[in-house]
């Protein structure tokens, strides 16, 4: 990595902070983005040549503020208006707490519940994460023009509908935080579901989601949801390279080479689960509990030695928070390992409204397969295949179906 790369990374890290403060002082996301972008370009031009300034954030912010003033003056001249007093040209660097609060405001504005989820994702990637519009479009597999339009509309709604630039009050925080976490988790899943080998571009989404979760954990180190989210993402991501074989086919958790799991990510994830559990003892949190399930897997030396009792107990806790058919299905899969396929099949069959969910049929097919009920199993595989999932997953089901006798 050359000095240019180090500068690029530093600039990217600071960009969201500078942007966050500029949005507050100028009151306009668009203006702030233009000005921040200008400062970023200048930094990328001059820092590799002249060296990184002592306070890179302050340098970027002052440069961006000057640019913002130029833009406002130009706009004022064009409209024939008097230039407003430029009260925000204070060259003194913002105190750290102010920058932290600005970034929090940006988080909650980008993930405001009055914005469509896809708009939240677009804003989180572009504004908070600093992916380019083209990168965000590639990651989400939409045309760049579509992504650009989503961003424009989202910013218009923020400005015109008056979405406030504010951290929610304490009583609103749990609900709003759940919304922020859901957006970051969605970004992660977009990348994670794509696998690795097949589509490397989308891996940037998992990395971006982890970066966003880290940012949230840095901003709100006492919020269990945030710690649980980061833990969950790290623990899932720790298995990334072991999830597919060398030709891109998925490898089930049971068959993964655990020596290829990322031990460092697991260590950090498990520690975070502990910290998050201590902060949510009174009120269990869905992200923390899912991370606890992931930790049970991450800590098991082999699939056979997984503590299924613990996994099932965590699923029981999760059901008390969110009793959904999918959680019941996942719990049933763990019961299959502890109590055998017959007990699990009874649970799976008792879940009523998953007939349109391919994994429900896939799980039934697998359990029937293990019970030696080949005909019923084949029918269930067919149903799962007909409903569709991504190609490597279909490939796995086809392979299992082909192993049925007869």
């Amino acid at each position: 990595m050359g000095p240019g790369d180090a500068v690029a990374r530093l600039v990217r890290e600071e960009r969201a902070r500078v942007l966050a403060t500029l949005i507050r002082v100028t009151g306009s996301v668009d203006l702030a983005e233009d000005a921040a972008q200008d400062a970023v370009v200048r930094a990328l031009e001059t820092w590799p040549r002249d060296g990184v300034p002592d306070n890179p954030r302050a340098w970027l912010l002052v440069t961006a503020k000057r640019r913002a003033i130029d833009l406002i003056r130009r706009e004022a001249r064009r409209a024939g208006k008097e230039t407003e007093a430029m009260t925000f040209l204070d060259p003194a660097p913002e105190p750290a707490e102010v920058v932290r609060d600005d970034l929090l405001r940006l988080v909650f504005t980008c993930c405001h519940p009055c914005l469509a989820v896809e708009a939240q994702v677009a804003l989180a990637l572009r504004t908070l994460g600093g992916l380019s519009t083209a990168e965000a479009a590639r990651g989400l597999m939409v045309p760049e023009a579509t992504m650009a339009k989503r961003l424009t509309r989202a910013k218009q709604k923020i400005a015109q509908a008056g979405i406030p630039y504010r951290v929610p009050a304490a009583e609103e925080l749990p609900g709003r935080l759940a919304g922020v976490a859901a957006t970051v988790y969605l970004i992660f899943n977009e990348g994670y579901a794509a696998g690795t080998g097949a589509d490397l571009v989308r891996v940037t989404l998992t990395a971006e989601a982890i970066r966003l979760a880290r940012l949230l954990a840095e901003l709100m180190p006492d919020e269990a949801t945030v710690l649980g989210l980061l833990a969950l993402l790290l623990l899932h991501d720790s298995r990334r390279v072991a999830r597919v074989d060398n030709v891109g086919r998925p490898v089930l958790l049971a068959d993964q080479d655990r020596t290829r799991w990322d031990a460092e990510a697991i260590k950090e994830g498990v520690e975070l689960v502990g910290a998050a559990l201590r902060r949510s003892a009174e009120r269990p949190d869905a992200y923390v509990v899912q991370a606890a399930v992931a930790a049970c897997h991450a800590l098991a030396p082999s699939y056979a030695s997984t503590s299924w009792d613990a996994v099932i107990s965590w699923y029981d806790v999760l059901l008390t928070i969110a009793d959904t058919p999918v959680v019941r299905l996942n719990r049933a899969a763990a019961v299959a390992e502890r109590d055998g396929p017959a007990a699990a099949l009874a649970l799976v069959d008792a879940i009523s409204d998953l007939a349109a969910y391919p994994w429900w049929h896939g799980t039934r097919a697998e359990l029937l397969h293990r019970l030696g009920r080949a005909e019923e199993s084949r029918a269930a595989y067919d149903r799962a295949l007909a409903l569709g999932m991504n190609e490597p997953q279909l490939e796995h089901l086809r392979r299992r179906a082909a192993e049925l006798p007869g």
Binding site: H112, C114, Q160, A161, G162, I163, P164, R166
Partner: protein, 116 residues
């Protein structure tokens, strides 16, 4: 301070003769109007969609006027009234709109009003 238009979409009721099951609704609206008096800058209830006329001039400005009996869009829930709310921001407007009885009797759409 921004102004928001709150459009109430509810079952198509004749507010001048509310059916018995909606007897309490009028009282709820009165309570809302009292509680939110500080931000309500206007508002009216509308006669049912049976009274609506939709007007078009398809040939362009000055052309023949085509009227049709009924609302612009036939929907299960109809536009039955509106308020103008002056609120600090969208969060406050959402909080006020959530107290309009239409929010549990149907839906409330809030739209920022343009100041030219």
């Amino acid at each position: 301070m921004p102004t928001y238009m709150a459009l109430t979409y509810t079952p198509d009721i004749d507010w001048t003769q509310p059916p018995p099951e909606h007897a309490g609704t009028m009282k709820e609206y009165a309570e809302f109007a009292e509680g939110a008096a500080a931000v309500i800058k206007g508002g009216r209830a509308l006669y049912p969609t049976a009274t609506a006329t939709t007007i078009r001039v398809p040939a362009g400005k000055g052309g023949d006027v085509i009227t049709s009996d009924g609302p612009y869009a036939e929907t299960k829930e109809a536009l039955t009234g509106f308020y103008l709310l002056e609120c600090a921001d969208l969060d406050e407007a959402v909080a006020v709109a959530a107290k309009i009885p239409a929010a549990w009797d149907g839906a409330v759409e809030i739209r920022p009003v343009i100041t030219f």
